[in-house]
Subunit: 296 residues, 2 copies
């Protein structure tokens, strides 16, 4: 199977490298030519445009920043839709709004292209290790076609439902991680302000119903004050914006998600957007008067 | 070692039975005599009052509803402090405010009694199985004296710190479970209102960073609409009240805890207090117009 990859940033590059390692014939394109070099050196073919990639492969994958970027590479002037071979499956693995994904899928179907939205969880570490969680939406047939490529990049691969369902699952996932990180920050700060060692409290909580991967991993990094990303606060803020927009449209009351969104807004407002989202702990600390309001 | 047990309700009875099974010489007291019968039948001695229990044992444990009950059995007219043998260790395993625990410990020390606050997590199931998480606060010496009894009732036993530290850890634990349950309810409802199967979304999320025991257990029960407790909403509301009072006193901003507290207030207000706290899902549903406002 021939695979195309568009977008070779922090996530896209290691994902594309894992496709090469798995033996796929890979054609790549990136906006900046320099981003393509490591892939070409590893044996990938380069192409002139997304359309040129699409003309040479069976499955084309995009991993870019946001919905306008996906639209540009899929539907733009030199986009995938203008070069596709018959029966092409297009997969977008970026995190964008479910509605945007459905719209792109609809427009691609007009060019005879099957679309799968397949956002991931697991970050740069998971991308490098090939252990991403992949949440896919689209027809069963298109999912089956893309699955061998997914298997080279991820571990927990779930076909969630029809077009947009992958993005819905990712948004739900970001609710749990956004709220979860805030809750762990609150619990650990609560312990410390009550004069109790938060490391001991974390240890006690890990043994029971409160156990979570976030308490285990993010909680330890909060104790170590390791605020380097990881997952940048402004990206989580972007994801919660997707959640809150969908909630607005559907008339959904999501009080914990709203609290997490506001905390992320405060982080970005304080200039902490480039830090890991666990730096929400600093926002809470600044509100107790422990840290100056510039929060650094 | 001789152990006393005061309070033989849903939690206290199985905990006391596990002490008997482990071979401890056990003396019990409960407000209602009928509550004592199963323990007496299993080989425990009965006593006339908490003071009488205290006169016959090395470690006396209370498992009652709230701080006034602990004060009554420990410090009241016929309380533990009026019958204690030299070197008695008194342990309260109820969930009460950290400040209340510290005050009771302080007053018991005036009677020459060492006090340990040791609330638990794990519910009735954990109490029966002897797999409770036990979070203890008090001197290292008193904790060491009580530890053999803890080992008969629980699995993850952590000496968190000085007096009150166990209750601080339990309060932090309730932040994570209260916020966690609300977040899972929001994520699953978000999925369904977006037209996607919440069971599939849960499956996709379980594989990644959002994995938690709450998503695993409570999430499945939400999908099955099994709202039978488990852990009653009004008890979780009581625990979040402890958290929010401590936050008020300390000048702590806890936005996710506040959201969870309000959701529990709404549950109790809607008459759902006797259901499991996962019935918070019904509160969210009633706010989308899916359920009538009486929420049943």
């Amino acid at each position: 199977m021939k695979v195309g990859f568009i977008g070779l940033g922090i996530m896209g590059r290691p994902m594309a490298l894992n496709l090469l390692k798995a033996g796929f014939d890979l054609t790549v394109w990136a906006r900046r030519e320099a981003s393509m070099q490591p892939l070409l050196a590893a044996g990938a073919h380069g192409a002139e445009s997304p359309a040129a990639v699409a003309g040479q492969v069976d499955v084309v994958i995009s991993m870019v920043a946001d919905a306008p970027d996906v639209e540009a590479v899929m539907l733009g002037e030199r986009g995938v839709c203008h070069g596709a071979r018959l029966g092409l499956v297009a997969v977008d693995m970026s995190t964008i709004a479910p509605d945007a994904a459905r719209g792109i899928g609809w427009r691609l179907s007009g060019c005879g292209i099957d679309f799968v939205d397949a956002p991931v969880s697991g970050g740069e570490v998971g991308a490098i290790a090939g252990t991403l969680s992949i949440m896919a939406g689209g027809s069963a047939a298109a999912f089956a076609r893309a699955r061998p490529a997914f298997a080279a990049m991820g571990k927990n691969i779930v076909h969630v439902g029809e077009s947009g369902a992958g993005q819905v699952a990712k948004a739900a996932n970001q609710i749990l991680t956004g709220v979860g990180v805030l809750a762990v920050a609150e619990a650990l700060l609560f312990a410390r302000k009550n004069g109790v060692d938060p490391a001991k409290v974390r240890e006690a909580m890990l043994g029971g119903a409160a156990h979570s991967r976030i308490l285990e991993n993010h909680g330890q990094r909060m104790l170590d004050r390791q605020f380097k990303p990881g997952f940048k606060a402004w990206m989580h803020q972007k994801d919660m914006n997707i959640v809150m927009h969908a909630a607005h449209r559907l008339g959904l009351c999501l009080p914990a998600s709203a609290a997490a969104t506001q905390a992320l807004n405060a982080m970005v407002g304080k200039g902490l957007g480039e830090e890991d989202s666990i730096a929400v702990l600093k926002v809470l600390e600044s509100l107790t008067g422990e840290l100056p309001l510039d929060g650094k």
